[in-house]
């Protein structure tokens, strides 16, 4: 039976929720008035007082920094690949259904692909690339949803492994080598650099954090003390201090060429920093696990490693996931501190642009764009993780008791 049949109509429900009592009504009206006034002021400013030339002129700089023009096709290719993979994962998750949220997301994507390049007054060829990429994403979403059931189950199960592969490929495409012309890290900048730093730290801090959390609960004293001291030390120090410290000492601490320059040193500091917080989130998940789970696994003959991999972690990570995602989002925002150690990440690039005499006094425009960009990245990250969470929690969301 359709549940909507029994519930009151949407309009009636709205009226009940917003104007249930006179006080509710008054609050609703006051808030609506305030919101309206704010929106009007913002729109007024954005359309008449603001001068968007600063963004139009610097959109490439904000996006990729000083990445050489002639090599930018590599970034377009990578974006295309990433969007296709995103679409495919999305489709695998949803199958043939297009729930309302998906339709909204698809609509937003299409609108952005049309509006943003036009607003930036990009050339027609660049606009076409935007359209192609948005189209690719939705096409992959549709195709994967439509035909994934024909794929053998093993392919569907192994699909998530495509992501690490794609990640390594992406770093190769960006940095060059193996026949591609190398692009030095000092030429990476803007959103590109921010995303590289954040994604590198997110990808690596996760396993590192799990290892630390397990270490902290280990029965080997040395491992336990080591993990505890590490976690408490990192959590007790401000990130900016660690970033400066890392620039000076990581070159000696990390073996051969892992942290060759400032960009990579910063990436490692972010990784080590976030790992301590992820470890605490995972530890909360481990603590929440009833002791009987491990005992059941051991009594069935599973060894320690099998117990951790098949019984402990799958359950602990589900509990830890929301806090971990929050940590990832914080991490993404923390990358702005990189501008303080002289890297040209999104904020660093923005500050360089604002220092340009041609665009004096256009700070508000630049900061607004920055805020929107960060908001989009965080929203995407949050949405992706929510979908994952939803999928992992199938067993409890369908529980009847």
């Amino acid at each position: 039976m359709d549940p909507r049949l029994k519930s009151p109509s949407r309009l009636a429900r709205l009226r009940r929720d917003l104007f249930g009592t006179p006080l509710d009504g008054a609050i609703t009206i006051a808030l609506l008035a305030a919101l309206g006034a704010g929106a009007q002021a913002l729109l007024n400013w954005a359309l008449s007082r603001a001068d968007w030339a600063v963004i139009q002129a610097n959109s490439t700089l904000l996006a990729v920094g000083r990445y050489p023009m002639a090599q930018q096709w590599r970034l377009w290719l990578l974006t295309g690949l990433l969007c296709s993979a995103t679409g495919a994962s999305w489709g695998l998750l949803r199958r043939r259904s297009w729930p309302r949220n998906d339709r909204i997301a698809a609509g937003l994507l299409l609108a952005m692909a049309l509006v943003v390049p036009a607003a930036l007054e990009l050339g027609l060829d660049v606009r076409a690339r935007w359209w192609a990429i948005a189209g690719l994403l939705l096409l992959a979403r549709w195709a994967a949803g439509r035909w994934s059931h024909r794929l053998p189950l093993i392919c569907q199960k192994l699909w998530p492994l495509a992501w690490p592969g794609l990640y390594v490929l992406g770093l190769g495409l960006i940095g060059g080598g193996l026949g591609l012309q190398p692009v030095r890290t000092s030429q990476w900048g803007g959103l590109l650099l921010t995303l590289i730093e954040a994604s590198f730290a997110i990808v690596l801090c996760f396993p590192l954090g799990i290892a630390l959390a397990l270490g902290r609960r280990s029965e080997l004293p040395l491992l336990r003390w080591g993990s505890t001291i590490y976690i408490e030390f990192i959590r007790g120090a401000p990130l900016i201090t660690l970033l400066f410290l890392g620039q000076n000492i990581l070159g000696f601490l990390l073996p051969g060429g892992l942290a060759p320059d400032r960009v990579w040193r910063a990436a490692w500091v972010l990784t080590f920093f976030a790992a301590a917080y992820v470890a605490e989130a995972v530890r909360a998940g481990l603590t929440a696990l009833p002791r009987g789970q491990v005992e059941a696994a051991r009594s069935l003959g599973l060894n320690s490693l099998q117990t951790v991999l098949h019984v402990v972690l799958p359950q602990a990570l589900r509990v830890a996931l929301p806090a971990t995602v929050g940590q990832f989002i914080t991490l993404l925002q923390d990358t702005t501190l990189l501008s303080l150690i002289g890297l040209l990440d999104l904020l660093g690039t923005a500050r360089a642009i604002m220092a340009n005499p041609d665009f004096l006094g256009r700070n508000a425009e630049v900061y607004l764009v920055l805020a929107v960009l960060f908001w989009c990245c965080c929203a995407a990250l949050g949405l992706g993780c929510r979908a994952l969470e939803h999928r992992l929690n199938r067993h409890s969301s369908t529980a009847s008791r």
């Binding site: 009833p290 009987g292 789970q293 005992e295 059941a296 696994a297 051991r298 009594s299 069935l300 003959g301 599973l302 060894n303 099998q306 098949h310 019984v311 799958p314 359950q315 589900r318 199938r394 067993h395 409890s396 369908t398 529980a399 009847s400 008791r401």
Partner: protein
């Protein structure tokens, strides 16, 4: 489960020894002396019920049989394998010994079927398809094959405990340990679990059962063990234990629970 007599037929020939516990002493890390030199011999095919007041060390004793608790002195030999500090030996023992817990301890993130197949595939290295076939048969035996693809959280307590028994059986153990398997169940679900255990005993499984179910002890047990304050106080066949208990602690215990 009315007229089940203890399987006396088994007593005719001398049978292999499945559990040989000698003078086992156990201190918990906080210094509590939980087992004070207990002895117990269980033969193959025997059903032994352990009773005793709460805190008397029943669970502790049972859990030493598969290495979930270590002990400080004495010896335990399970099916010819001595339990000690040798980790490989503990692994070998655990493969042969199934355990059913009061709180079921099913893996909530796995379907019922995957709960059953996890250990045989990982530990015995058997093929998934083959194990699944066996698992479905076992689920049929305990009467829940229709729920094979549900998650444990969707089942009732009695169903969960039956899944837990099937999960242990899927490893084809030679010995089954039960630690108060019906104590966490609503009263109306106790029988369905006891019935499964009864069937298992009839099939010749060696079982050590910690329980307060008097009827089960009377009808299924070959011997009843009474523990008190970390010691084995009395071991006797059920009729004798319930009708003419020898030890004052046994009399006291029986008067308290009936």
């Amino acid at each position: 489960m009315t007229q089940v007599s203890p399987l006396q037929a088994k007593d005719r020939e001398p049978r292999a020894v499945m559990i040989e516990a000698r003078n086992v002493e156990k201190w918990y890390p906080n210094g509590y002396h939980a087992l004070r030199g207990v002895d117990l011999t269980v033969h193959q095919g025997e059903v032994v019920v352990i009773m005793g007041p709460s805190g008397s060390g029943k669970s502790t004793f049972l859990r030493t049989f598969n290495g979930l608790e270590e002990f400080q002195s004495g010896s335990i030999v399970i099916d010819g394998m001595a339990l000690g500090n040798d980790l490989r030996q503990i692994g070998a023992v655990r493969r042969e010994v199934g355990m059913v817990f009061q709180q079921f301890n099913l893996f909530p993130h796995l379907t019922v079927l995957d709960n059953l197949t996890l250990a045989p595939t990982l530990v015995r290295g058997r093929s998934k398809a083959q194990v699944q076939h066996q698992a479905l048969e076992l689920l049929e035996r305990v009467g829940i094959h229709e729920q094979a693809h549900k998650y444990p959280g969707q089942l009732s307590g009695g169903q969960q405990q039956r899944v837990a028994i099937a999960r242990s059986l899927c490893m084809e153990p030679r010995l089954m340990l039960f630690d108060e398997p019906t104590s966490a169940l609503d009263p109306e679900m106790v029988q369905e679990v006891l019935l499964v255990m009864l069937e298992l005993a009839r099939g010749g499984m060696t079982m050590v059962v910690v329980t307060h179910e008097l009827r089960f002890a009377r009808q299924v047990a070959d011997r009843v063990v009474l523990m008190a304050e970390g010691e084995v106080v009395e071991i006797a066949p059920p009729e004798q234990f319930f009708n003419t208990p020898q030890h004052p602690r046994s009399k006291q215990f029986l008067s308290q629970i009936s």
